[in-house]
Symmetry: C2
Subunit: 211 residues, 2 copies
C-alpha cells in the first residue's frame, strides 16, 4: 500500500505577504506551481496525494477534499479514518524533492518530522495517524513533539533545508531561484524575477519592480 500524502492547500487569494510583488492572479498561479512541485516530490517518493483544499478544487489525477473548517479540525477529523501510514506536507515547499521525502518515509521511528523556520511543522510522517492530533499554528513543531511524547511515539527530526523552506515572504523567493528545480522556479522566472547581488548579499528583483 502506498503512503497517502495529505496536502493542505489554499487556492484563493493565497500568500498575501507576496502582495507587494505579485497580484492576486499571480499569487494563485504561484501557489499552484508550488503545489505541483510538492505533488511531484511526493509522487517521486511513491506517495499518493490527497489534497485538502479550502474551497472546491480539482487537481488532475489526485483526490481532493474540501476543508470547510479550520486546518486542525479537518485533519483531526480525517486522520482517524485513514487506513495506514500518512504524510502531512504543506503545499508551499517548492524545494521539496523525492530524496528528502524518502528520508522521512524510511525513518526507524514512529514519526518523522521536518520543522519549518520559525517553529512550524512543514512535513510530518505518521506510521499510525489515528493516534495523532494535529495542532498547527503558533509553534506547532514543539507542540507536535509534545503530542507524540504523550502517546509514547518515537520521533525522528529530519534535518532538511529543502523541506524547512516554506515560502511566505519576498526574501524566500531567493531560495526558489537558487535551489528550485521545478515549476515554481520556472514560474518566477516567467514573471521576470531574478537574483541580484547587493552589498554582499543576494536579493530578488522583478523586472520593472523592486523586490
Amino acid at each position: 500500500m502506498t503512503v497517502r500524502a495529505l496536502i493542505p492547500f489554499k487556492p484563493v487569494n493565497p500568500k498575501s505577504r507576496l502582495s507587494g510583488v505579485m497580484n492576486r492572479e499571480e499569487r494563485e498561479a504561484f501557489a499552484r506551481a508550488m503545489l505541483d512541485d510538492v505533488v511531484a516530490a511526493i509522487r517521486g517518493a511513491g506517495c499518493t496525494p490527497l489534497i485538502l483544499s479550502t474551497v472546491p478544487f480539482r487537481y488532475p489525477g489526485a483526490e481532493t477534499l474540501v476543508n470547510a473548517g479550520g486546518l486542525n479540525e479537518s485533519l483531526n477529523e480525517i486522520l482517524p479514518g485513514l487506513p495506514g501510514a500518512t504524510l502531512i506536507i504543506m503545499s508551499d515547499l517548492p524545494l521539496a524533492i523525492p530524496e528528502t521525502i524518502t528520508r522521512m518515509l524510511t525513518t526507524g521511528a514512529n514519526i518523522s518530522v521536518v520543522p519549518g523556520r520559525g517553529g512550524g511543522t512543514n512535513a510530518i510522517f505518521l506510521k499510525n495517524p489515528a493516534r495523532f492530533r494535529a495542532d498547527y499554528y503558533g509553534g506547532s513543531f514543539l507542540k507536535h513533539l509534545t503530542v507524540a511524547e504523550e502517546f509514547g511515539a518515537t520521533v525522528e527530526v529530519i534535518d532538511s533545508f529543502r523541506l524547512s523552506t516554506d515560502v511566505d515572504e519576498v526574501e524566500d523567493l531567493v531560495e526558489v531561484l537558487i535551489h528550485g528545480r521545478g515549476k515554481s522556479r520556472e514560474y518566477l522566472a516567467s514573471l521576470g524575477f531574478a537574483l541580484v547581488a547587493e552589498n554582499g548579499r543576494v536579493k530578488v528583483e522583478r523586472a520593472g519592480m523592486r523586490g
Copy 2:
C-alpha cells in the same frame, strides 16, 4: 590524518544586526558561544579546528591564525598550503551537530557544500583544498559551484536545515531557542530570551525588552 576545519571568526563587535537586543559585550559572548558549538560539532565528527580570527585571539586547545586581510584573500593564501582534506565552516552556526558534519565528510564527491539562507556558503568540504578558490560574499554558493565546475570537481549539496541556519538577525534567535542543544542556547536563556507565541507564530522576546 584528521580533517582540518577552518573556522573564520570575528571576536570584536560581531553580529551588529543583533544590536537592538544585545549590547556589544553580549554580542561578543554570544558569538563566542556559537563558536564553541561549532567547535564541539566539528570535534565530534573527528575534525581539528583551525580558527581564522580577524584579531589576535586565543582559543583553548585550538590553533589560531590572524586573518589580517579579507576573508577570501586569507583563505586563498592558506588553502594551497594545507596538507589534506579541509572543511571551511562559518562560526555562526549554533545548530551544528556532529551528524551533519559527518554527512559532509562522507561524501562520495570531491566537494560537499551546505548553502546558507540567502545564497551564502555556510560550510564546504574540500578533499583537495589546493585547487579551490574561495569567493565569499554576494551569492557565494552559486559562485563556489562555478569554481568547482571550472576545475572539474564533483559536488554534493548537503540538504541540512541545521547547517543552513546562520544567525544574523533577531528572528534567527528563534531557531536557536527551538533547536539549539549547546552553549548558544544556554547563553540566550541566561540573558532572558524566551519564545513567545504571537498571532499564530513564534517570536523571541528578551525579559524586559521587545525582541
